[in-house]
């Protein structure tokens, strides 16, 4: 099972280049798409979900030519948009029943079984009779997962689903995702590095409409092993440090000093201490390289 994205480009009428000759191949499993806001993640996701057309390029899912046969893809697609709502004053049960019919499940019995199943997976069975427009943010996102599962999709696209969730809701949501990731491709976009670390077996970092790096999270951190250094410096020194070294991130301590993380092949100075590389370092290195290029 493979999703092949080839040389995808899209420039909006206002001149923003959202996708820039983007090529990407995604295999079965949980794929994380990491990038800052405005990187083009949503544009890519919406294009994959057949909600907008690129100017150039092709997308193939298995043997489906997605851009020319959007309807064929939709039959096997599950999509959770970044921003969605539902009709007011309708319960999860009633909405899912309508949506399941729209996904082509005509038998009432099949529908009822399926709805019960997706409500249980998403932990919404207890609140199935409540109006979805009264749900909390986390419940609404899980409803979004419930609806996308209705056609047993092979390609699942979830666009920034953890944005705005509190930590408990976020964990519950990620657990639901983990549960459904078995025999399909799940593409998951986020600007939160921890989401990827906790969940994905493959990932890409995106910015400026381009893929900056594609790698397995574990391999990506292995590549920069022994190249991450930390130093605790005063606030006044930060600027100097940034000029001298590749400073990836800086965090304030309680005494107003700053811990900086630096990327370098060799120990940059004797006061630097070697640190364990993490995925956040990978992310910032990719973004830094892109900004310099």
């Amino acid at each position: 099972m493979t999703l092949r994205i080839n040389k995808l480009s899209k420039t909006y009428p206002n001149g923003v280049k959202a996708l820039d000759n983007l090529t990407l191949e995604i295999q079965k499993g949980m794929f994380g798409l990491l990038g800052p806001n405005g990187a083009g993640k949503s544009s890519l996701m919406r294009t994959l979900a057949t909600l907008q057309n690129p100017d150039e390029g092709t997308i193939y899912f298995e043997d489906i030519d997605v851009l020319n046969n959007p309807m064929t893809l939709r039959k096997t697609l599950g999509y959770l948009p970044q921003d969605f709502g539902v009709y007011p004053k309708m319960s999860a049960m009633d909405l899912l029943d309508y949506l399941a019919t729209l996904k082509g499940i005509t038998s009432r019995k099949d529908r009822n079984n399926l709805i019960q199943q997706v409500l249980e997976i998403t932990n919404l069975y207890g609140v199935r009779k409540q109006f979805v427009d009264n749900y909390s943010g986390g419940m609404k996102q899980r409803f979004g997962i419930a609806q996308l599962l209705l056609n047993n999709p092979k390609l699942i696209i979830v666009d920034e689903p953890t944005a705005g969730l509190d930590p408990a809701e976020r964990n519950r949501f990620l657990n639901v995702l983990r549960e459904i990731a078995s025999s399909n491709i799940i593409i998951f976009s986020t600007h939160i590095v921890d989401d990827i670390k906790d969940l994905c077996n493959d990932m890409a970092i995106m910015n400026g409409g381009k893929i900056l790096k594609k790698s397995k999270p574990s391999e990506a951190t292995k590549e920069i092993e022994n190249k991450i250094w930390i130093h605790n410096c005063s606030r006044e020194k930060l600027e100097e440090m940034e000029q001298l070294h590749i400073v990836l991130s800086s965090k304030y301590n309680e005494d107003n000093s700053i811990n900086i993380r630096v990327y370098a092949n060799e120990q940059p100075a004797e006061y630097f201490i070697k640190a364990t590389a993490n995925l956040e370092d990978v992310y910032f290195i990719a973004l830094k390289n892109h900004h310099q290029a």
């Binding site: 909006y12 009428p13 909600l51 959007p70 948009p81 009709y87 979004g144």
Partner: protein
């Protein structure tokens, strides 16, 4: 899929109290208008030499109610398409495996059926207004279904279809319900302008006045009082040509909206 969406939208309206309010208001207004004209509320309310349910009188009543019915169109036809955008449900729905044809036709037809049902209650109200026990029998003709059917199928329904299509397409394109209201007023103004420029007795205005009233009244305008009270509604061929012109216009407007619309539209950010 067409039937699924149609059924869902019809059920949505039939379970919505606003449908019953619209329906009751039009029914009661029509009933009281007819009853009043038939002297049911005493001599002072009606001129006694007019027959209240003559074909021309029924026509005049429906012509009056037609204007008010137009303002149901944004509320019903417009909102049926608008609610998908307003709720942001379209972001999910438009990735579902149904076709644009099924979606647009089911959305339009369901809302138009609802408007047609409310319109039936105008005719029903007019008819039952003649049955009020206190009505003056001398101001009433025996029941005849034809003028009710004529006004419903030749005037009200085609007019609502035209304005309904305009509202549907403008809301579809603008994704804004208020533009739907404005489009009703603009089309109405346009018809007034046509009348002023072409003059009420010209062939142009017979054909291009969108309600078909000018073509009809070109005959009835010259009727004497006793003719107004007794004659059936004479519909000359020009009335049917007018209806055809605007039916064709409705189809063209719908086609423009259909061609323009796509599930794949740009997100500007």
């Amino acid at each position: 899929m067409f039937l699924t969406i149609l059924h869902f939208e019809l059920k949505y309206w039939l379970k919505n109290w606003s449908f019953y309010i619209y329906l009751s208001v039009f029914f009661v207004m029509a009933l009281l208008s007819m009853a009043g004209a038939a002297g049911a509320f005493g001599e002072g309310t009606a001129s006694t030499d007019h027959i209240a349910n003559s074909p021309l009188s029924i026509y005049n009543f429906t012509k009056f109610f037609n204007k008010f019915l137009l303002f149901l169109l944004p509320a019903i036809v417009g909102s049926t398409i608008y609610k998908d955008f307003k709720s942001n449900f379209n972001n999910i729905l438009f990735t579902y495996p149904f076709s644009k044809t099924n979606y647009l036709f089911a959305k339009f037809l369901s809302s138009f059926i609802i408007v047609s049902i409310i319109t039936i209650f105008v005719e029903l109200g007019l008819f039952l207004g003649t049955k009020i026990p206190t009505a003056n029998g001398a101001q009433l003709l025996p029941f005849d279904a034809l003028p009710y059917l004529q006004t419903y199928f030749i005037f009200l329904i085609p007019n609502l279809l035209l304005f309904g299509t305009v509202v549907f397409v403008t809301v579809l394109i603008s994704r804004n319900i208020y533009v739907g209201f404005i489009s009703v007023i603009l089309l109405w103004l346009l018809s007034e302008i046509v009348l002023r420029i072409a003059g009420i007795e010209s062939l142009t205005s017979f054909l291009l006045e969108p309600f078909g009233n000018n073509a009809t009244q070109s005959i009835t305008r010259h009727w004497t009082l006793s003719e107004q009270n007794t004659l059936p509604l004479v519909l000359q061929p020009i009335v049917y040509y007018n209806r055809l012109v605007w039916l064709f216009a409705s189809i063209i407007i719908f086609t423009i909206g259909y061609r323009w619309f796509s599930f794949s539209q740009n997100l500007l950010h």
